[in-house]
């Protein structure tokens, strides 16, 4: 059976380095399989977070050969095996141990976003009516598995560490799901521009590129939210129309 060399970053908050392991590379294996094999036979204390191994829990996010990816969804056949395969933890988040990072910052930022606020019920029994075309747009955002690969690759967080001023792609997707919901009546444009720092996004589309759910984060979430911010803060004509009650 063929083998492959894996260079796995191992360390803790004080630092770390790459360690090399050789493991079997059988047909059909994904990177997470190889990491588990190494953990079972060569490095019992190797820390790796995982759950479903089906690309739906978003736990096994890492950087494989320099690109943020889910370990469970990256087949070894997608990689070149004649060179060592590098596996690192996500750069954007503080490391806990080895491949496990602390992503709690995302959840702390999430609670800053105004929650869902539905309009008054449409029917006397307290229920609402929604048309499918109106729901379709936000359905895309509900596919997000919160793997935070988009947060990891975003250079505003990764390179410039603006964690306190910039929510990041995942939280813009969450905001878009609320903001564009056909029942929601809350206005989040102020916080998107302020605490959310959406103006820091310079539309590199890296978040879209790494999304394992193929959500068009930039085109369908971030840019439409940027345009809503323009409506409210930068476009005098839009403000004029809104003053006369048009939306």
């Amino acid at each position: 059976m063929a083998t492959a060399t894996f260079r796995i970053w191992r360390g803790d908050p004080n630092g770390g380095k790459f360690h090399e392991y050789v493991a079997e590379a059988a047909p059909g294996m994904v990177v997470l399989d190889a990491v588990h094999a190494i953990q079972a036979s060569q490095a019992n204390d190797l820390a790796v977070r995982w759950n479903c191994k089906a690309g739906k829990c978003g736990s096994c996010s890492a950087e494989i050969n320099g690109m943020p990816r889910l370990m469970c969804m990256t087949r070894l056949t997608q990689l070149t095996l004649d060179k060592p395969i590098t596996i690192e933890p996500m750069h954007t988040f503080p490391v806990i141990k080895d491949l496990v990072t602390d992503v709690s910052r995302n959840f702390r930022a999430k609670i800053q976003i105004k929650p869902f606020k539905p309009r008054k019920p449409d029917a006397p029994d307290g229920t609402w009516r929604m048309a499918q075309p109106d729901v379709d747009r936000v359905q895309e955002f509900r596919k997000c598995i919160e793997c935070f690969l988009c947060q990891d690759v975003c250079h505003v967080l990764r390179e410039h560490h603006l964690h306190d001023k910039f929510w990041g792609p995942r939280l813009y997707v969450y905001s878009a799901a609320l903001e564009m919901h056909p029942l929601d009546v809350e206005d989040r444009s102020g916080e998107l521009r302020g605490a959310g720092g959406i103006g820091y996004c310079n539309i590199t589309k890296c978040c879209t590129k790494v999304c394992p759910e193929s959500i068009k984060i930039t085109d369908n979430a971030i840019i439409p939210l940027k345009e809503r911010v323009v409506d409210h803060f930068y476009d005098p004509l839009s403000r004029l129309f809104r003053a006369f009650g048009a939306k």
């Binding site: 690192e88 250079h155 103006g199 820091y200």
Partner: protein
């Protein structure tokens, strides 16, 4: 938990990526750079911008000029030391539209400013202001450049129409088709604009009750999905349109007539 990053930030251009990540930003740099150089050179010529019924898109509309100007000739107040060209009064419009375009922004921030050079690749500088402060906050006026671009689409459609009229008679030359294709490609790019997508229906949370707007929004969304493609094809073709007319006007190329 410590805020210590997992792995130390990498220096400019350093990455663990194995793919040819530098190819795309380099291609954008060369493509956009070549266009800017050619468009600037063509704009400063001030000559060979019309041939027969054809008018170069770099010079249309000819507000001030010597062929069929809308307003008049070279203004008397124009400084003698400054080169005069009708293109100076035109190119700021479509140029501003492309410069503030959401697609081009992402592309040239990478290719010309390395911010970032590519996804997950080390950057050259630590200071980052984004589009939140001056000067890039100005990009928020993109929708106004879209309104201006609409005017240019109408103007170039008129030029394409004129391109089929030779001395008061219907006719068709290669140049007629070049200008027709030009306005079609520019329309496919312009009407796929992200700002137009927002204005046409994206601003609404409930669009189902407005069938006309929904139809428009769906069409714009469809074009928007290929915005990058139309941006590049139309960019190439508008430069080629100028080049074709310039070559014909200089007598280097012959405009082959179908009828």
């Amino acid at each position: 938990m410590s805020n210590f990053p997992a792995v130390q930030a990498r220096a400019f251009g350093r990455t663990m990526r194995r793919d040819l990540w530098w190819v795309q930003p380099l291609a954008v740099f060369l493509g956009l750079g070549a266009f800017v150089v050619y468009a600037t050179w063509a704009a400063f010529q001030g000559a060979y911008y019309h041939f027969g019924p054809y008018l170069s898109p770099f010079y249309s509309p000819e507000l001030l000029g010597s062929w069929h100007p809308w307003i008049g000739g070279k203004p008397l107040w124009w400084p003698a030391w400054l080169i005069f060209s009708p293109a100076f009064f035109v190119l700021w419009g479509p140029g501003g539209f492309r410069l503030s375009c959401y697609y081009y922004r992402g592309a040239y921030y990478k290719a010309f400013w390395a911010d970032p050079p590519s996804c997950a690749v080390g950057e050259p500088r630590k200071l980052y202001l984004g589009e939140r402060s001056f000067p890039l906050i100005v990009q928020n006026i993109h929708r106004y450049f879209f309104y201006i671009a609409l005017f240019f689409i109408g103007d170039l459609a008129y030029d394409a129409w004129n391109g089929f009229h030779f001395d008061g008679h219907w006719g068709m030359g290669v140049g007629s088709l070049v200008l027709l294709v030009n306005v079609v490609l520019l329309s496919l790019y312009t009407f796929g604009c992200h700002s137009f997508r927002h204005l046409s229906g994206g601003v609404l949370d409930r669009i189902s009750g407005r069938p006309v707007r929904k139809r428009v929004y769906d069409c714009v969304s469809c074009l928007n999905g290929h915005h990058m493609r139309w941006a590049w094809i139309s960019l190439f073709w508008v430069a080629f349109s100028d080049f074709y007319i310039r070559m014909c006007a200089m007598g280097i190329w012959h405009d082959w007539r179908f009828f």
